[in-house]
């Protein structure tokens, strides 16, 4: 296991270095951001002075070198818009996104797993057919549409839930979270379910397919012949065997949701990191964009490593190397 971690760490450094280079160069090609950021009423000497003071008039390799040196000192630049270090900005917004994603993943697993088991075990039953069709819908319908529909019915028509924003928060272990206040949960329901649509549908389909395959396996036939109840068979034996791909895919989905909850966060004005990145791109806030992309790369590598460890935990046959 140690070898795996060391290897992953080395790979990680290489990937981060390569990404930083590509991202930096691509963004550099967009030209001087001050031109877009500065008020058009600014006289050119102000724009020149600011450009020079931020080092944006230097050739690209000098700028990149400075960026690398600063990054190694833990400084990924100060946001042009928010007057804050970009990493601090991202981590400041991350709790909001994480609680949204965790909520969505819990919904997806709690609802999706049983539905998938049922749909896979009794594939011909009408309810299973319905579950399958709905899961196709869940995969293909875009998140913003789901979000808007939920807003129209639950907020505008029936006036049950707020249209967006994050509710009251409390400090839990030093982190602001809205998971433990009633107001917070009310605000979380609609965006949470919107974000859960995709992983829910994916879980249903994965589990359903897995169960259908396992159902034909010898151990299941024997179990049925012995008169084990379907619940016991599903819960104790089949479930463990279908969990391996589910854990892998959940890990990737988790990362994707954290990195790109952009649409849901935009529709619900949720103050998370996805909204931060989209606003930063719109405002040419270059340091934040670069820092965010690097953060996403690191996050995916960590998640992949965790998924590998979890897989070994779920299925002892998987060897870590």
């Amino acid at each position: 296991m140690l070898r795996l971690l060391v290897r992953r760490a080395i790979e990680g450094v290489v990937v981060v270095a390569a990404t930083s280079f590509v991202v930096f160069l691509a963004i550099y090609m967009l030209g001087n951001p001050i031109q877009v950021l500065a008020s058009p009423d600014s006289p050119p000497e102000v724009i020149q002075r600011v450009t020079a003071s931020l080092g944006l008039d230097r050739p690209w390799h000098e700028q990149y070198w400075r960026f690398v040196v600063n990054a190694l000192h833990g400084d990924l630049g100060v946001s042009f818009v928010h007057a804050q270090p970009s990493l601090a900005l991202i981590f400041g917004r991350l709790p909001a996104t994480l609680e949204l994603v965790v909520f969505a993943m819990i919904v997806a697993v709690v609802v999706g797993l049983p539905l998938g088991l049922v749909a896979g075990y009794w594939p011909r039953h009408w309810s299973s057919q319905a579950i399958s069709s709905l899961s196709v819908l869940g995969i293909s319908v875009p998140a913003f549409w789901v979000g808007l529909m939920l807003i129209i019915f639950f907020s505008l028509e029936w006036r049950l839930l707020p249209t967006g924003g994050r509710g009251a928060t409390v400090q839990v272990a030093g982190i602001e979270t809205s998971l433990f206040t009633l107001d917070g949960l009310r605000h979380l329901v609609l965006p949470g379910f919107t974000l859960a649509t995709l992983p829910l549908a994916v879980i249903v389909r994965l589990v359903r397919t897995g169960v259908r395959e396992q159902r034909r396996a010898d151990y299941v036939r024997f179990g049925r012949a012995m008169g084990l109840s379907p619940g016991l068979l599903l819960g104790r034996y089949i479930l463990r065997n279908v969990m391996v791909p589910v854990v892998t895919v959940m890990g990737l989905l988790f990362g994707t949701l954290v990195a790109f909850a952009v649409v849901t966060e935009t529709v619900f004005a949720w103050p998370g990191s996805g909204k931060l990145i989209i606003d930063s791109i719109k405002q040419s806030d270059r340091p934040v964009v670069i820092a965010y992309l690097l953060f996403v790369v690191v996050m995916f590598m960590v998640i992949n490593t965790v998924v590998d460890l979890l897989t070994a935990l779920v299925d002892p046959r998987v060897r870590l190397q």
């Binding site: 500065a38 000497e45 505008l156 009633l182 040419s284």
Partner: protein
Amino acid sequence: MTSALTGSPLGIRQGPSVVKTNKLIAGLAGAALLLAGAPAFAQHLTIGSRAEITMDPHYQWLASNISYYRQIYGSLTVLGPNAQAEPMLADFRKVDDLNWEFKLKPGVKFQNGKPVTADDVVASLNRAKTLANAAASYAGALQTVSGIKAVDPQTVVITTERPNGNIPQQLTQIAIIPKEIADSATRDDFTSAKAAIGAGPYKVVRYRPGDRLELARFDDFAGPKPHWATVTYRFIADDAARVAALLGGDVDLIDYVPPADLARLQDDKRLAIHTRASDRVMYLIPDTSSDKSPFVADLDGKPLDKNPLKDVRVRKALSLALDRDALVRSVMDGAAQPANQTVPPGFIGYFDTLPASKFDLNEAKQLLASAGYPKGFQLTIHCTNDRYVNDARMCQAVGQMLSRLGLKMNVVTQPKSVFFTQMTNHSGDRGSLLLLAWGSAWTGDASGILNQTLHSYDKAKGMGTWNLGHYSNAEIDKMVQEANVAIDRDKKGGFQGAALKAAMEDYAQIPLIILRVINASKREVAFTPFADEATPATAARPADASAATPKK
């Protein structure tokens, strides 16, 4: 992505709701009522705002920031609804052509209880001018200022390098903070609201990045007392989400109502619309300087040996071919008005007697023929697609209208980062026909449009930075320079008007439309919209007299 969302949630009208509630939902709704408590409406206002605040008041020069700062920090002068500077913390007078005196009003206090002194003002102005790392520096707002001096504890004298009648306007942009904070505060101090101490009518209670800003009335504010005891700004950048928040009753007032939703919101009995002409005019910039323009060709795509846009008849033909009423109707959903000059009415320098822009396709075709292009030519129009309201749609509509004139049009829309990088390259190829908009609010006159977009490009003097067609006319330059040193309002307006008229008659720019400011609120809230799209809580009040008495 966001444009796809615009308007969608409004498709369903409010009707009598017959709902089968299950227990869970009923429970949640009950809880909601409990949480909401008694209606605190008369004292509390929630505003859904497109733009978030930058907490450090001297970091990013942006009109939306100043809309917040004018309530929290305050400034020596402040912009009124018509974008004219009014005294706020100080009264001002001109000492001589180069010196302005600002005398702090008696009793002006910071929110920490200390009086505002001339030293605080000097420290604030200097910080705004020199703050490190500020990408969109406020230094531009203090252009021509060469000296800032405290002559006594109440008085600051501002000296300019040339006569500049715009000094009171320029000082509306700079927030005033205590000297000790200006000298020592760090970025984090502002973000945590620790250093967010000003002399405005509202103080910061809490700032949640990306989400909301909570304000409470500062009762020792020297000026008029605002109605609302507490105000919450919620940052909702997405147009559809902002409108939904108003419809859902989560916010009381919103800014930047998307024109496409205007009609539906107007029909809603629970809401009120507050609208006026904005300070922003959309216009076309033809390439009037290149001998061969980069995006002009003959009908077969071969380069033309001369630039047709240098011919004033061709430029006039372009203008005549544009049906501005149709642009207002179809592109802006009625939320605009046709423009005949690039400064909106009511601003200094607006030329009253200039005739309205005419739409006459036949005359346009004749002009084009007499200029030697009876069959037209090929022309590309470049526009942004994420900078102004409906910019990409406007671009396409203009392209279509010009093809009716017989031109073979290409329409190119680009993200602003790409567009501005290419189009502000003064030494290379830019574009042949560009769509831009210019807001004149912070000067309240034509000086921005004249100095930056019509005066000949002159890098050394900092003139014509946004003159992207490199239009050059010595007579206009002269009038612009005379207007710049004229301090008397009428005299300045006379020069500016004359320069603007000359430029419009030469079709140096082709004005299209004046945008509208649209705010929407619950019916119970009245609001005075601002030309610069500011949405200060101080401009909102209860709509009817009965609600106006604060409930204790």
